[in-house]
Symmetry: C2
Subunit: 326 residues, 2 copies
């Protein structure tokens, strides 16, 4: 945490920006999400150096409707904008039963589950999603158009850890395909298509000439389109293809918007809400009881281990991060 903040301060981040960003990266690291952990600091500093993000942006919160708060991130990173908007979103959800937060003009860290835990801590149900850049062809297509468009859902489970999932709507993360390319290995054909739209096991062809595929064929493709629309034009922000154009070949972290919906169960079912929410326990037990995986369980195991034994960070990464102080 202190190394993170030191690096961020060194590169002109304000205290608010550095605190929120470091908090998100460390939370992801504790959950053993290496792609969203402090490794991401390298991409963050690279993006700032290339002029793709504003290190000391001061986000502005606007109360635009009884159920809607907008936060203009002013080109800064998403966590600080989220922190500033959060109390407004929570207050609106408690008042109206359901509320929406739009974060605009932000450079995104896409650790959505970290944000949703902030909602479940308050007893709120939450959904968050965002576009990214045009990497994914719609099902049946061949050209990159959609983002990897993650969606996350958070459910407060009284007396237990919240149920939270967070996944990309692409078949696999872009970073995984890049890893296969570096290692000279073939990828599963379900992960991408070549320039003609045919299933393709060559990672270089998929990344440079073809496109990634959505998960779940036409259904996953439809969800990715929904995310493009809701966390894009609906909130007055960019589609993934517009975000790619905005990037102008910098290959920086993507710049776009984010949509978060929060719902207060107690405004729906009143005093009975705790008893209703507890019924979800039956579902979770039945999932685990038949040997299936319950999303978020792996993260909680890793977190417990990290808090007990410390988070694992490769030495090479520590060296790379320390080099950012030069």
């Amino acid at each position: 945490m202190s190394l993170c903040r030191k690096v961020l301060a060194h590169h002109g981040f304000s205290d608010e920006q550095a605190g929120a960003l470091a908090g998100t990266l460390v939370a992801a690291q504790l959950d053993a999400s290496h792609s969203h952990g402090i490794y991401r600091l390298l991409g963050i500093i690279d993006t700032v150096r290339k002029g793709g993000a504003v290190a000391d942006a001061a986000p502005e919160v606007a109360d635009v409707a009884p159920g809607v708060v907008r936060v203009d991130a002013k080109g800064g990173f998403s966590p600080c904008a989220f922190e500033l908007g959060l109390p407004h979103l929570v207050a609106k959800a408690r008042d109206a039963g359901i509320a929406l937060m739009a974060i605009n003009h932000c450079v995104h860290t896409t650790a959505l589950w970290v944000e949703l835990e902030r909602l479940t801590e308050q007893g709120l149900v939450g959904i968050a999603c965002n576009p990214t850049q045009a990497y994914v062809a719609p099902h049946g297509g061949k050209q990159p158009l959609l983002g990897t468009n993650p969606i996350a859902f958070g459910w407060p489970h009284p007396g237990d850890a919240p149920f939270i999932f967070d996944f990309a709507t692409s078949a696999i993360a872009r970073g995984d395909i890049e890893l296969y390319r570096r290692e000279g290995r073939a990828i599963p054909e379900a992960w991408g298509v070549d320039r003609h739209g045919a299933p393709c096991s060559d990672p270089a062809e998929v990344l440079d000439h073809g496109a990634m595929t959505p998960f779940g064929e036409h259904k996953g493709s439809a969800l990715a389109i929904m995310i493009e629309l809701m966390a894009g034009p609906l909130i007055g922000d960019l589609l993934s293809i517009e975000s790619s154009e905005h990037d102008e070949g910098r290959r920086g972290l993507p710049y776009h918007g984010e949509l978060i919906i929060a719902i207060d169960p107690s405004r729906l079912t009143g005093e009975a809400s705790s008893a209703h929410m507890e019924r979800s326990g039956r579902l979770f037990e039945a999932i685990l009881g038949q040997g299936a995986r319950l999303p978020s369980q792996r993260r909680y195991r890793e977190r417990t281990r990290s808090l007990e034994h410390g988070a694992e960070v490769p030495l090479a990464l520590v060296n790379d991060i320390e080099a950012l102080l030069d």
Copy 2:
């Protein structure tokens, strides 16, 4: 339409119930959705005869929070409850920017896209979902626990038909697997698992001892869980497994709740909202331009054809429906 209403009146449906239900069935029939069209009348009357639905239920609307309206369907079918709640949902979305409608205690027709068109007609973005009954094993599991849990999304596209998708989160509809069983054909292994959780091509084993699978592996499974929770305990209504128990072996249409969220784009981005919404056209054109399918296009083609040449209904079905008048 008049045959539908005649049959419903004959079986004790009130005018309000019959009108809303017939409207939904005919709309689905015009879109060539045979499973949700007037064929469903057979299941509806069967469910009423078995005591699984209240033909003349009078739904009650409750304004429970600035952003929330609840409709107690009182054991009747969903379309009438939806119609009664709709003006409240629209008014709340226009006022707060986002609003939620919970329909409770209804027997469901699951033609969600028909409902979402009622929202897009008003310029609102909408999401609807509901549990069903326990047919689907969570990814990696083997016992039926989740419903086929449909989710639908509607997007008003200024100057053009709305973008609407509506799909089950199971790999395939239950009716399709039943069709394979009747025809003595093997199903694709991705559609179900046997009693041990192994992929299975025998439709009888999947339906009677194993379980259906969710679409999109662990991601589709997570979405199905989200729908269980949001359109179940969150709104004070049943999980799919609870709905199965409620059915008590009647094999009637499922009884449960439904969640609908409506968002008013003009409350998010004000006067700029039309211009922002129109940017979605670029996305739709790029999807069609690369030869991919755009959800809802097939429905609109069928509807145009039906309105021009009349909807096609098999004679055998007409006979079966007329027999309900005896």
